[in-house]
């Protein structure tokens, strides 16, 4: 059974800690809320008000237990837990537009911030100055709305509103192994999608890059080919890998969708949130009659007769999706965090998740 938690009225950013006992989120404002979660109850641990505009991205490093947040106020903070209190350190992003997303690298010694200033800030800790400094990757023609690190800690994929999904080298001298030959900001590969690239995601082994676009499509990019699927539903905005052959994505449909690699071809399996008992009957669409009755109702009774009931657990778009241990969590702009166990996915869709 999926667990539904109503935490606030709208979620703009979400992150879980390593053992999924704590959650950091922003309720679509400048505050960072940290909760203790024991599976049933939520206890507020801290409310941090260092930013002064909406927090757009939160990432929690599993090994070093550091939280990085980025906001529309063009700043990012790195929080460390010292004696039970979260101490912020300002990061100099040197950007003149909002930050849109942030991700720790796999070795947690750098993080990437996507910005509206058409660039990505790669930030690392400078020991001499005792502060976080940044280097910029330019070459984008518009805002960067999604970033993802390859497992080798060097390659970075970006999704941008200039309709392209790109792979760059984010090599930092002094932080990364000097045997790497690619320089910072070097463009390795590029794919031109038809619309905004909402989300990019490397698979756990780094062989495949999944990206979702606003034209209701999803692409899986390998080194020698790209498989591009067009779907019948509304666009997908977030996603996560389950193993190497399953990908779960969510978006404007309010329903997580599962994709699987079968016989070397990616196919859409189906929605995870389905009513098991009754099949939702699709009434034949007779739009003229519906419109007439709606206006008729408004004239006669002063009410509109069409009241739509939402059939999914999320009442509004899904805009966060995080893979946890044995389950995944989705956050929506309805302020709900819903935890879906993998066993529910396997049972509903009758599939195997490796």
């Amino acid at each position: 059974m999926a667990q539904k938690h109503q935490l606030c009225s709208c979620i703009s950013a979400l992150a879980f800690n390593a053992d999924n006992t704590k959650i950091a989120l922003s309720p679509n404002n400048h505050e960072l809320h940290i909760y203790n979660f024991d599976g049933k109850e939520w206890k507020s641990e801290a409310v941090l008000k260092d930013h002064y505009q909406i927090i757009t991205g939160i990432d929690w490093a599993p090994n070093t237990n550091r939280i990085v947040t980025c906001s529309q106020d063009r700043n990012a903070y790195v929080y460390e837990n010292i004696d039970g209190k979260w101490k912020p350190t300002l990061v100099l992003l040197r950007i003149n537009r909002a930050a849109t997303c942030v991700k720790w690298s796999p070795q947690e010694n750098k993080f990437a911030v996507g910005t509206g200033a058409k660039l990505v800030s790669i930030c690392y800790f400078d020991e001499e100055g005792d502060w976080w400094v940044s280097k910029h990757i330019k070459k984008h023609r518009s805002s960067v709305i999604s970033v993802s690190w390859h497992p080798n800690n060097i390659l970075l994929a970006t999704g941008s509103t200039d309709f392209k999904c790109r792979i760059f080298s984010a090599f930092i001298k002094g932080v990364d192994d000097p045997n790497e030959t690619q320089a910072l900001g070097e463009l390795i590969a590029e794919y031109s999608a038809g619309a905004w690239v909402h989300h990019v995601d490397w698979s756990p082994s780094g062989d495949c890059l999944a990206f979702t676009c606003h034209n209701s499509s999803i692409g899986f990019m390998y080194q020698n080919e790209t498989q591009f699927l067009r779907i019948k539903d509304l666009p997908l905005v977030v996603g996560g890998w389950i193993g190497e052959t399953s990908y779960i994505a969510g978006g404007y449909d309010r329903n997580p969708t599962l994709f699987q690699l079968k016989n070397d071809k990616w196919t859409r399996i189906g929605y995870v949130d389905q009513k098991s008992t009754s099949q939702t009957q699709k009434k034949p669409v007779n739009s003229f009659k519906n419109a007439r009755s709606m206006f008729g109702g408004m004239v006669d009774r002063g009410t509109s007769s069409t009241i739509t009931k939402v059939e999914t657990l999320h009442e509004n778009n899904i805009n966060q999706l995080i893979i946890l241990n044995g389950k995944f969590a989705t956050g929506g702009i309805d302020g709900r965090v819903i935890i879906w166990p993998f066993s529910l996915v396997k049972k509903t869709l009758n599939v195997d998740l490796n």
Binding site: H214, N215, S216, D233
Partner: protein
């Protein structure tokens, strides 16, 4: 040429005059198709052809060409191809114009 043949290779890269020419022929065919044949026609199209048909429908609605019939086509095609088809027409207005 039948509708399926027109939708097989939509003239995305053609000159405006040729696009206008083909558009007029397609709209005539859409206008002449009987209501009960619409569903079968839509079911026999693949994704590319469905996207092209939806683009023609929207272009026709923009120019106010036989709107009543096109609205019926829109309803039938939406049921078959889904909201994703409409999303692709709306979000790819720069690259894929018919």
């Amino acid at each position: 040429m039948s509708l399926t043949q027109f939708l097989e290779n939509p003239p995305y890269e053609a000159q405006p005059q040729e696009k206008q020419n083909i558009y007029e022929q397609v709209i005539n065919i859409l206008g002449d198709t009987a209501d009960n044949k619409m569903k079968d026609t839509c079911n026999n199209l693949d994704t590319d052809q469905q996207d092209a048909l939806m683009r023609y429908i929207y272009k026709g609605l923009e120019n106010n060409d036989n709107s009543l019939k096109l609205l019926k086509w829109h309803g039938v095609l939406s049921e078959v191809a889904g909201l994703g088809c409409i999303m692709r027409v709306m979000s790819e207005k720069r690259k894929r114009v018919l």
